[in-house]
């Protein structure tokens, strides 16, 4: 027996070998037909689907008679899952029955795709990955790999890399049938441009063409290395050259790039057909060349064809209509080429110039005229913005359609909208009026709604989402909204193939009431099998950080919303440059799917530089006492920010932000820890700050500060902040422009420890340019010995701003800001108990525009320089309106308020009692212009202060002069104590609305 054992050991191999031998289907394979299926096996035993799911979907069942039709169905069903590339079915007789074995080969799906090795940028590794077009979760095949490599070769060649080596390296993940591919790329040497081979009818010297390509370096004239961008720029340069020559039909094509291996040079082969010189002439109306080039797209497109000329004629007509030539007609006429020249005439008949002065609407009962007007594009003339109004036949038709749609979507299916235009309205030449007449007809209402086919979702919750409900207006628009809402709910619940059909019929009792039937075919519900995170992309990030962001769990409905929510949360961590999300094998016919995430980490370090300048009343000598109200000044600014993302792989960030200007030097080191304790709404930050500033002209101060802050987001609009701050502030004694008597007291360094709480509530519709909503802030703090503070005070600052649209165009914005600092245990003078840098300073473009920056409030009675206060009240009101076109707006404003020496001294009093009284309310009115930019409106404000403060200031060259003048300088040298006044006129420039 012992000698048999070794042979037995080969038995399984022998059996497998025999079974694996491919053969053709025996003609008598249907001899198994009807035999009982004794067993169903799978080879390999480990299958991509769970055995339960596998046998559930398999039509072939144990104990049933074998049918070839069922075998075919079984193969088709298994293949439809997308998890196999090949299936073969074997049969083996056993005890008067048959054992059926499915021999399968699994599919592979694309996982992480990356590129590395010696990649010579450009193209970057990311571009090479994109060029592969291997999409996450899709089926992988050798063909798709060949296509990927070919595509990468083409990309490299287009960047002058003609001899690259690309070697794909595979990492197979059997568990998820995923294949991770890393392309190891050796880009090789980059070729340089060589003199291009130019063919065709050039009509321009070859030297000029080569110069236009900029393939050679300036002055030294060596050929540049090839990149795709340079090739594109070179072609564009040639096209521009021909355009300057008025050869607008010039065709410049890159036929190929020939590679000279010996010289490692790339020779662009160009074909150019210069075409004739074309002179574009506006006939019948004078247009500048620049405007003509803007309006007629043949210049931009470097081509002349019928479509572009039609577009140009339409643009010209639109432009003329915007200028009041509402009947303008524009045609174009191409003339034959004679001696290499051709004329292209735009024949313009402007007609009379008009002004749209009136739009009347009648016949409307359901909607009032204002509701309808708010939707019209036609615009009556108004000063500056539309001096001639906005009108054309096309716009009138568009507005008629708009009104019709408005009615139809509210159940008026038979509505008729007509319009009549009256020229020389009320006998005034050139003025026109438009009369819109509406015949509403009957309103159709929904009589009943029936939801059919809803089985797996809650019918009531679906009904609650519908716009078409009993008694509501019936419209196809509402039905479309309902369809979207219902299907969205189904998609979110994992029914990707849900469909919606609807029908309607008039109710028997009332033909204007309709019975609706919404028929839903739910289809198969799909679930999450598992969420797969590709760890290849996580070099430093902790997997647990990623896992915490997942909004999907195995067994959940396969919701696209949850998939994208997770993707968004991963992006929100700020540590990934790219997050791909995909359903693996999306077309496979299976109930449960893998959801795959693939991440690419962002660069951990980022360095940013900025330059800027400030121009305001910030100038004047630093040590002189001659200009307490400030002088016009200019302050250049440089900033540098260094950020380290994803510290310790935990998504924490540390950043250093520095700024240097002639007014301020500051460095801020911040450590940010988002989503503390796995709570999305809690963030912690630790900050260290150094600041050396002379923003306030009275003194230079230095601040060393550290703070810890916990922010808690209560809702989308409301956030709370809990903060402890400890700082040391000191004032540079030599810069203090106050009475020498106070210098010893106010120049002492002070430690402040303050525990504070802040709330921000932001319900604005647009934070950059709000039109409606409110913005509230509240900041309350307590500085106390117990917190390490040398001074004791309570600080309170609150702001309430609201925004109200008036009609379609105007916005009324208002803001009220109040604040107070109350010292306690102050040993006497409550004002002087508060260190100068801790006091309120105000005035300027963002608070009270009747003052220069930080010039509001109490002043030193000797020097006249502002010394800040402990109470604050500012109220601002703005009327914002469009001014010229769509991008320039205007603002009329009224600012009132001041900084007060104490809360008890706050007064709405209009006039200043004397030159030593600063506790009254200053009013300013003004006008501003806003120019819309992508980062917010650029702002210029000009204010007239109605009752600016007067004050006396001792004219001294420096502090020593003041000291020399004795205890009472003004008393000793009254001639030097000059009466001064804050200027009535103030200006400010900035980015963003005032509030």
């Amino acid at each position: 027996m012992s000698s048999v054992r070794p042979l037995h050991a080969f038995l399984p191999g022998l059996v497998l070998l025999t079974a694996a031998c491919p053969g053709t289907i025996r003609a008598q394979s249907n001899s198994y037909e009807g035999l009982s299926v004794v067993n169903v096996r799978f080879d390999p035993a480990r299958q991509p689907l769970d055995s339960e799911a596998l046998f559930q979907i398999l039509p072939l069942k144990r104990g049933q008679p074998l049918s070839m039709e069922v075998v075919r169905q079984s193969i088709a069903r298994l293949f439809a899952t997308g998890r196999y590339t090949d299936i073969q079915v074997d049969a083996e007789p056993y005890n008067h029955g048959v054992i059926v074995t499915f021999r399968t080969k699994n599919s592979w799906f694309v996982g992480n795709v990356s590129a590395g090795g010696g990649v010579n940028d450009p193209p970057s590794a990311g571009q090479l990955v994109n060029a592969s077009r291997l999409e996450l979760g899709t089926a992988y095949s050798d063909t798709s790999l060949d296509q990927a490599v070919s595509s990468q070769h083409r990309l490299l060649a287009s960047n002058g890399l003609f001899a690259p080596q690309i070697r794909p390296v595979f990492d197979y993940d059997d568990r998820y049938q995923q294949i991770n591919i890393r392309f190891l790329v050796d880009s090789g040497r980059r070729a340089r441009f060589a003199p291009p081979d130019v063919n065709g009818d050039l009509k321009v010297s070859l030297e000029r063409i080569v110069a236009a390509t900029k393939f050679r370096r300036w002055i030294i004239h060596t050929w540049k290395p090839v990149t795709q961008a340079r090739v594109g720029q070179g072609l564009e340069g040639i096209r521009n050259l021909y355009q300057k020559e008025n050869r607008l039909e010039a065709k410049v094509n890159l036929e190929t790039v020939r590679y000279d291996d010996a010289r490692n040079a790339a020779i662009p082969v160009l074909r150019i057909e210069a075409g004739p010189r074309i002179q574009v002439n506006p006939v019948g109306y004078k247009l500048s060349r620049s405007r003509l080039q803007r309006l007629v797209p043949i210049y931009e497109e470097h081509a002349v064809d019928h479509d572009l000329l039609v577009e140009g004629a339409n643009n010209l007509r639109d432009y003329l209509q915007s200028q009041g030539y509402f009947e303008a007609q524009v045609e174009f006429k191409e003339q034959a080429v004679i001696r290499d020249r051709a004329n292209l005439d735009f024949l313009i008949a402007t007609g009379r110039r008009h002004k749209l002065v009136s739009i009347t609407i009648d016949g409307n009962h359901y909607f009032n005229a204002d509701t309808i007007r708010a939707r019209l594009f036609l615009q009556t003339a108004n000063f500056l913005q539309f001096p001639h109004g906005r009108f054309s036949g096309g716009l009138l038709r568009r507005d008629q359609d708009t009104i019709r749609n408005l009615y139809e979507s509210n159940g008026f299916r038979d509505v008729k909208v007509t319009a009549a235009t009256v020229d020389d309205y009320q006998g005034k030449t050139g003025e026109i009026a438009v009369a819109v007449h509406i015949e509403e007809g009957p309103q159709y209402l929904v009589n009943s709604v029936q939801l059919a086919g809803v089985e797996k979702l809650n019918r009531d919750s679906l009904m609650a989402r519908l716009s078409s409900t009993e008694g509501q207006p019936f419209s196809e628009f509402n039905v479309a909204v309902d369809r979207d809402a219902i299907l969205a709910r189904y998609f979110e619940s994992g029914f990707p193939k849900a469909t919606f059909e609807w029908s309607s019929k008039p109710s028997e009792k009332d033909p204007h009431r309709l019975d609706l039937v919404f028929k839903i075919a739910e289809g198969q519900q799909q679930f999450v099998r598992e969420v797969v995170i590709n760890h290849q992309g996580l070099k430093t990030t902790r997997p647990s950080l990623v896992a915490r962001q997942l909004q999907l769990n195995p067994g959940d409905p396969l919701s696209p919303t949850a998939i994208t929510d997770t993707q968004r949360r991963l992006y929100d961590l700020g540590v990934f440059a790219k997050v791909d999300a995909a359903i693996q094998n999306p077309d496979g016919d299976t109930d449960s799917k893998y959801v795959v995430y693939n991440m690419e980490e962002a660069a951990r370090y980022s360095l940013g530089f900025g330059f800027g300048a400030e121009f305001a009343r910030i100038g004047g000598c630093q040590t002189c006492l001659d200009a307490p109200a400030g002088q016009a000044g200019f302050s250049p600014r440089v900033s540098m920010d260094l950020t380290r993302l994803n510290l310790w792989g935990a998504g924490h960030t540390v950043s250093l932000r520095t700024r240097v200007s002639t007014l301020d030097r500051r460095a801020l080191l911040n450590y940010s820890w988002p989503r503390v304790g796995r709570n999305d709404n809690l963030n912690v930050s630790f900050t260290a700050l150094y600041e050396d500033s002379r923003d306030v002209r009275t003194f230079n101060f230095k601040r060393w500060e550290q703070s810890e802050q916990l922010s808690q987001r209560l809702s989308k609009a409301t956030t709370l902040f809990y903060r402890y701050t400890f700082r040391r502030v000191s004032v540079d004694q030599s810069t203090l422009k106050i009475s020498p008597l106070l210098i010893p007291l106010l120049s002492q360094p002070v430690r402040v420890g303050i525990l504070s709480f802040a709330l921000i509530q932001d319900r604005r519709d647009d934070p950059v340019e709000p039109h409606r909503g409110l913005y509230n802030t509240l900041d309350v703090g307590l500085a106390e010995h117990a917190f390490g503070s040398q001074r004791n005070y309570f600080r309170f600052l609150a702001r309430n701003a609201t925004y109200h649209p008036i009609g379609r165009k105007l916005v009324l914005a208002r803001s009220l800001e109040i604040g107070a600092i109350h010292a306690f245990k102050d040993n006497g003078d409550p004002l002087n108990a508060i260190p100068l840098p801790e006091r309120f300073f105000g005035g300027g473009g963002n608070s009270q525009r009747g003052f220069p920056d930080y010039q509001a409030g109490p002043r030193d009675l000797t020097t006249g320089f502002p010394i800040g206060g402990t109470a604050l009240l500012f109220n601002q009101t703005e009327l914002r309106f469009p001014l010229i076109g769509d991008n320039i707006g205007g603002v009329l404003f009224h600012d009132m308020g001041n900084i007060f020496s104490s809360i008890g001294k706050v007064s709405l009093r209009w006039s200043q009692h004397n030159e030593q009284d600063f506790n009254y309310t200053v009013h300013a009115v003004g006008f501003g212009i806003r120019y819309r930019t992508p980062i917010g409106p650029f702002r210029v404000d000009l204010a007239y202060s109605i009752n600016p403060p007067s004050f006396r200031g001792f004219k001294a060259n420096n502090q020593q002069d003041l000291v020399n003048a004795g205890v009472d300088p003004c008393g000793a040298y009254p001639a030097k104590c000059v009466l001064q006044r804050i200027s009535h006129f103030q200006y400010s420039f900035s980015i963003g609305q005032t509030f």
Partner: protein
Amino acid sequence: MKLRRSIPLLLALAALAGRAEIIDRIAVSVGNRVITESDLKRQIRVVAFQNGVKPDFSAASRRAAAEKMIDQKLIERELESSRYPIPSAAELAPALDEFKKTRYPEEAAYQQALAAYGITERDLLDLLVWERTLLRFIEIRFESSVLVTDQEVAEQARQKDLSVSDAERSLISGRADEQVEQWLKDARRRTTIIMHQEVFQ
């Protein structure tokens, strides 16, 4: 001696293993649909029966049948996604009766012929349904959108010596066929089609 005694056992086991035979396998995959080797052979048999010829199972014949079945799968997919009306088997019953009457007046001969070809009446009916489906698909999807001018019809009638209506019909069907060809070419380009070569050797 013990080894010699165990050899018959081994041979019996090997023979047992050898008795497992392939009864079906994938011949072609078209997207997530398959054509199995038995599908292919059945198609060859049914078409041969319909044409009254001997089935040809040569590699070339199998390949040709596979090409037609790929087109069928692509069209079936389009029919399902676009919800085209599919003719029912009942609709084809008269056509089947006509076929039987013409070719096999005796039921017994008909049944004998089916058995000889290794097919069932159901297989034949499926083929007839498919042929009708294809015609309908071409009519609805392509022929309905073909536009011909009177001048083209007149020219066709003159060249082919046809009546005006036949000329128009011939022009429309010709152009529809061209469109079908193009559509199939595009559909093949968009679809992953893998032919398992072992089936075609």
